[in-house]
């Protein structure tokens, strides 16, 4: 029997060729989504996060890709707005069929996007801090590289214990994490033989906290844990100084800004301890982020999204299959297993292709995760205020 091809069939076939070629190309590349705050409140971080993600994807593609396929990265702007974030996630999941979404920043955006991800078995890697995120019923489809309140408060308490603080009082702005923060701090202090002697939760919109400070100082603390934002920290530092408090004061680096230190006389702020999660500045992956951005001190979120892309690529490399389920099943095997320590994702992919086991240590830290998706440990920067400037005490 002879196959007969009419002119009409031939024409239809030739018209379809470009589409077939595109289909083939799409099948060859692994679709990956990034939802970043390119504008809005997180606009200071989103553009550099996107730049880092694109640069790492390009490097992986240049060096042979993952399991023989290139990664196609689609970056969407969530405008730091959960509604826009959900629209972006729908496009990435329903149309682009991405295997993972990386780099959601605002807790509200991550919380809104997460159900779409776990419903569609798409992995979600976020840098959001709210404890509630990993308490969602996500079935393992969320990985968070930003330390949560539990980890941060525990490390704060360890620092206070190391520095001989024995009676710690808290003054906390009314936030969703105020109570969790204090409870964890108090528990770790108790384990170290120190004492949390009371926490007062205040309304940060007030203009004076004299009565709160008087009540706090009545317990005769040697240290104040100021769980504040910048405007209320300024008032608390001023009024606790006026009230004659001469002990230690400890707060978060996002509150002890240079602007706050400059707004108050040096005798009021000198000796103020502050801390913040820190990238692993000694890591080769951190140096790679420095090189991509061309700056010496990349922000933590840019470091974290570098690790997100690396974890996605390595998990696929380990599984040999590109899907959300494969990443879900393998992400801990390449980040906290017994294998060879690697900080370069390309090197990690080469080792995986050679059948070796690896343990990825990233720009943001060791990338070890709890079953609920929280990071187990990371570096913290501790600093002290001296003459209206923050001076680094340690990164540990």
């Amino acid at each position: 029997m002879t196959a007969r091809i009419s002119r009409r069939t031939a024409l239809a076939g030739s018209l379809a060729l470009p589409f077939l070629a595109r289909t083939g190309e799409a099948a060859a590349s692994i679709p990956l989504g990034a939802i970043n705050p390119l504008t809005g409140a997180g606009g200071a971080y989103g553009p550099s996060m996107a730049k880092v993600a694109k640069a790492l994807v390009e490097r992986i593609n240049r060096t042979g890709g993952v399991i023989g396929r290139s990664i196609a990265l689609d970056v969407e702007d969530d405008q730091t707005n959960p509604t826009v974030g959900v629209e972006a996630a729908r496009k990435l999941i329903d149309v682009e069929k991405v295997v993972a979404i990386v780099g959601t920043w605002a807790s509200a955006v991550t919380t809104a996007v997460a159900p779409l991800c776990w419903d569609s078995h798409t992995m979600l890697f976020c840098v959001s801090g709210a404890d509630s995120i990993t308490r969602l019923p996500h079935h393992g489809y969320i990985i968070r590289t930003q330390p949560n309140t539990y980890l941060q408060s525990g490390r704060a308490a360890e620092f206070l214990l190391r520095h001989g603080c024995r009676r710690v009082s808290g003054l906390s702005a009314q936030t969703p994490f105020a109570v969790d923060s204090w409870n964890r701090l108090k528990a770790v202090l108790g384990q170290g033989g120190a004492e949390g002697v009371g926490d007062i939760i205040y309304d940060a919109k007030q203009t004076s906290f004299r009565s709160e400070i008087d009540s706090t100082l009545a317990a005769k603390p040697d240290t104040l844990f100021l769980n504040s934002y910048a405007p209320d920290l300024e008032i608390l530092l001023r009024e606790s100084y006026q009230a004659g408090f001469a002990g230690q004061r400890f707060t978060f680096a996002y509150a002890a800004t240079d602007a706050v230190l400059k707004a108050l006389p040096a005798p009021v702020t000198n000796g103020l301890w502050s801390f913040a999660p820190s990238p692993d500045v000694a890591s080769p992956a951190y140096k790679a982020v420095q090189a991509i951005l061309g700056i010496s001190d990349p922000d933590p979120y840019s470091c974290q999204i570098y690790d997100h892309v690396a974890l996605v690529a390595l998990a696929i490399g380990k599984a040999g299959v590109a899907s959300g389920v494969a990443i879900h099943d393998n992400v801990r095997r390449i980040s906290q297993g017994p294998g060879q320590h690697v900080s370069d994702p390309v090197e990690g992919l080469r080792l995986l292709a050679a059948g070796k086991e690896i343990n990825y240590d990233g720009a943001s830290g060791p990338c070890h995760f709890t079953p609920s998706g929280d990071i187990l440990s990371c570096k913290f920067l501790f600093q002290v205020a001296e003459n209206r400037h923050n001076k680094t005490l340690s990164i540990s």
Binding site: T207, S211, D214, A218, E234, I235, Q242, G244, P265
Partner: protein, 288 residues
């Protein structure tokens, strides 16, 4: 326990003295123009920034800074009123009040545009509190309270003894009658805005001296100002002073009984209680 009670009383009285100035400004405007001008919040902030520029940038002492706070906040307030709120007043007090909320947000963002979001500090030494037995009293707060009393006394004198002050009182008492006697309402409106909002500017600077200066400095005290004005009697200057002390002391004393988180609610509880028994406020309406 007695020491704690006395300490809260002292803290409340000092807070009330500072709160009294913007509350007096708010009621001065209400008495003459018959609408609540919520733009007092950002005008307090603008006054605080004007004082900061004179103190921290030019290096002038506190009295000159307070004068700058008065003049700049009064001028900006009077000009903004003439431009934005005057056309709305014939439509009713509610429309003018809503207009003043919009104006407040515009002015607040103008301050943010000019000075940024970062907090600023005045070039003043911060002293430790004086100790009177178990009671601590801040020298800065005492100075603020004295300055507030002087500024309020000056306004009382102006209203009682000067021609413009008397015309303001006449308009507040009976606008139609005052106009029939040849008093120019536009001129009186301008004077009321300049004096009332200028006082608010001084109040804003005193609040910022005691706390922090950023674009939301005035907004953070707006609810307390409004509570003080209503408790004392809308439009009443002595009432604003009495209301400020009731709100200031009430908020501080409440921390003896309930968690500090809820103390802002005390101002509004005070409104509910006072208005339930005296609908016109403690002193009564429009007694300037």
């Amino acid at each position: 326990m007695i020491a704690t009670f006395l300490q809260a009383l002292v803290n409340g009285a000092l807070a009330g003295a500072v709160l009294a100035l913007p509350a007096v400004g708010f009621n001065t405007v209400y008495a003459v123009l018959r609408f609540p001008n919520f733009a007092v919040a950002s005008l307090a902030t603008i006054g605080a920034y004007a004082g900061w520029v004179v103190n921290a940038d030019l290096g002038w002492p506190a009295p000159a800074s307070l004068l700058a706070a008065f003049v700049v906040a009064g001028s900006v307030g009077a000009f903004a009123d003439a431009l934005c709120l005057k056309p709305l007043r014939p439509l009713g007090a509610l429309v003018a009040a809503i207009g003043s909320v919009a104006l407040d947000l515009v002015l607040q963002n103008a301050a943010r545009f000019a000075f940024g979001n970062n907090p600023r500090g005045y070039d003043l030494t911060i002293f430790r509190n004086w100790r009177l037995g178990p009671i601590g009293i801040g020298p800065q707060e005492v100075e603020d309270a004295v300055l507030a009393v002087i500024a309020m006394a000056a306004v009382f004198l102006m209203l009682r003894t000067t021609r413009i002050g008397k015309t303001m009182r006449a308009v507040a008492d009976n606008a139609t009658l005052a106009e029939s006697k040849g008093i120019d309402p536009a001129r009186v409106a301008w004077a009321a805005n300049f004096v009332g909002l200028g006082l608010t500017g001084i109040g804003g600077m005193l609040v910022a001296l005691d706390t922090s200066l950023d674009p939301l400095t005035g907004f953070r005290v707006l609810l307390s100002i409004f509570a003080a004005a209503v408790v004392g009697g809308l439009g009443s200057i002595p009432g604003a002073v009495a209301g400020a002390f009731v709100v200031g002391i009430g908020e501080e004393m409440s921390t003896l009984l309930i968690a500090p988180t809820y103390r802002t609610a005390m101002g509004f509880l005070a409104i509910l209680i006072v208005l339930s028994f005296r609908p016109g406020g403690l002193i009564g309406e429009r007694a300037i």
